[in-house]
Amino acid sequence: MKKIAITKLNDLYAAIAQNQSLLLPIKRAGQTNFGIWTEDAEVDLQTLKTVKSAKDAFFPQSENLYTCYKDGKKISIAPEKLQEESFVVFGMKGCDVRGAMVLDKVFLANPVDNYYAARREHGIIVSLACSQPEESCFCKAFGIDCAEPEGDVVTWLTADYLYWKPVTEKGEALTAQVADLLEDADDKAVSEQKAAIAATVEKLPYANISLEGWNGDALKEKFDSPLWEQLYKPCLACGTCTFVCPTCQCYDIKDYDTGNGIQRYRCWDSCMYSDFTMMAHGNNRNSQMQRFRQRFMHKLVYFPANNDGMYSCVGCGRCVDKCPSHLNILKVIKAFGKEGK
């Protein structure tokens, strides 16, 4: 266990950024999101949840795949360069780290997504324990310990110090880079914080929400439930829940004509959108109820069915906070719970 005084955090950031780019929560125009650290960036470790999750670090909202160039009537293709340099994502919470592991199931399984794989390979995760969990957090339901998150390095923030514990090889290597700034520390303060967090988590209203009945076996019964018809009604069909989600992984591929060539890029898609999975013949899901159902069935039924029971929800609660109509996964789970299913 190492530590660094919070007064010296800027030195730590600078030291990390010297060798690789550093992403961390930055407050910009009043909102905190992950962004690249610069001297004048306003780092914000106090806000528990960034608006968007740290998903962008590995799976950006938009990224170029390749570009076609035209010379007369000849066309040539130039693929986008894959991530080659390492980078650090600092301050990811337990839920976001788990979110990346959910994405791994999708993008690292065959066929491997090269763009994602390259970023995962070169990304170093420095996670941060949640000293003050909030009411919409329910990561515990998914077996996540926000007091000791996963990651290459785990950190804890107390009033005076940032405690630093490398966990993996990557983490050790990063620690070595900044060793000059770190001092040795004992576990006392960290243990105290972990105990305090555990106590708070027990008081969270949804920490122990039951996921009983949500698995691959429940597919047909859940799919056909008349409850969806009631639940989706207030849904505005916006993509807020999917875009703030650390695990939503659907994307769309589009072309952009730059005048000098065509850039093929991919961008996050949302199952809430009417053109989601639109094909030449039309759309598989042509009502908002079906699209709404898709999101929750995917997270709680289809995904665990295909991934050894792993849910593709990590309980970060961002969708709970951000839905304009106050709809959310908790209300869905509870609604089904009430039905006794």
Binding site: G30, S62, K233, T240, K254, C267, W268, Y273, D275
Partner: protein, 320 residues
């Protein structure tokens, strides 16, 4: 609230209406969700409190397609949106039974959180708000927890209703165009920096558009291939500017300034500024106009006078 619920139930039971469009009790005081109630049993979950901010008028588009009348609860400012939708034939007046519900300014849990409170376990909708959190109890003044739009309230009168329930209050205590004027006073560089910072947060979730009662197109131009314009986040941020400028332009003269766009933006972008800029310009150049105030009024961008200002007025000191 009980009276309102009883009245709605009465109208539902006697067959005057086939359903009630109101708010359903949430997990907490602060998260009621818009909902349709079709049975007396369902009505048990009906709620109307000071956190019921959502403008329900847009839901009437779908409700107008259903059999029978829908009882809809509209706050004074929502009634403008209803009228505007009516003027554009998007909803059917005959299909609506409007209870104009009282409003004394709506609360936002975001505002409560902005006061620094975390881990909110419960909150009251009283003045002051009594907040119980994981990390201690606190109080927040009602005005401080009120949505921004309520500080520039359009007034306590409903412009359309079948019956009224409850008292309303004009909660305006700020100048509606103050922010717009502040930006107008900036240099082009400052303006650009301001909007660049705000718009770069945009994640193209389309919440602003989808909640907007003026954005009632069956298919948004950004969702169709008519202009080769993208619906989703692009690699370059130009699309965000394009989207927000065009969206504001499309609702110019039709926007009632209900403020839902800014309320729902997950990134807290002050989207209403675009709409208010247009409203301010329209008022200055073409005469005071409030969309939705009068169903038969001619919209400022679908009418003209031969004496209108030239576009050059913008570069000659701007529209004041």
């Amino acid at each position: 609230m009980q009276g309102l619920k009883a009245r709605a139930l009465e109208l539902l039971n006697d067959g005057t209406v086939s359903r009630v469009l109101g708010w359903k009790i949430g997990e907490n005081t602060y998260d009621p969700e818009p909902a349709f109630f079709e049975t007396a049993e369902a009505m048990e979950q009906f709620v109307y409190n000071n956190f019921c901010a959502a403008n329900l008028s847009k839901y009437m588009i779908e409700a107008s397609k259903l059999e029978g009348k829908t009882l809809v609860c509209l706050k004074p400012c929502d009634s403008y949106s209803f009228n505007q939708l009516l003027a554009e034939h998007r909803i059917d007046r005959e299909k609506a039974y409007i209870i104009g519900v009282g409003c004394k300014g709506k609360l936002s849990i975001e505002k409560v959180k902005q006061s620094g409170l975390k881990g909110i376990l419960s909150v009251t909708d009283t003045d002051p708000l009594k907040v119980e959190t994981l990390y201690g109890d606190a109080e927040v003044a009602y005005k401080d927890a009120m949505l921004d739009r309520c500080h520039v309230c359009k007034g306590k009168e409903h412009v359309v209703y079948d019956e009224l329930y409850g008292e309303s209050e004009d909660t305006s205590d700020a100048d509606r165009f103050e922010q717009v004027r502040a930006i107008e006073a900036m240099s082009p560089e400052e303006k650009f920096a301001f909007f660049q910072a705000e718009l770069s947060k945009c994640i193209r979730c389309n919440a602003c558009r989808n909640v907007c009662p003026a954005c009632s197109c069956r298919k948004c131009v950004f969702d169709s291939n008519k202009f080769d314009s993208a619906q989703k986040a692009n690699v370059d941020s130009f699309e965000e500017k394009m989207f927000h400028i065009i969206r504001a332009f499309h609702v110019a003269g039709r926007c009632t300034d209900c403020g839902e766009c800014s309320r729902v933006c997950p990134q807290g972008i002050p989207l209403h500024l675009f709409n208010r800029k247009f409203i301010k310009d329209i008022n200055a150049l073409y005469g005071e106009y409030q969309a939705g105030a009068d169903v038969d009024a001619k919209g400022p961008l679908t009418s003209f006078t031969t004496e209108d200002a030239e576009p050059g007025v913008v570069s000659q000191g701007g529209i004041v």
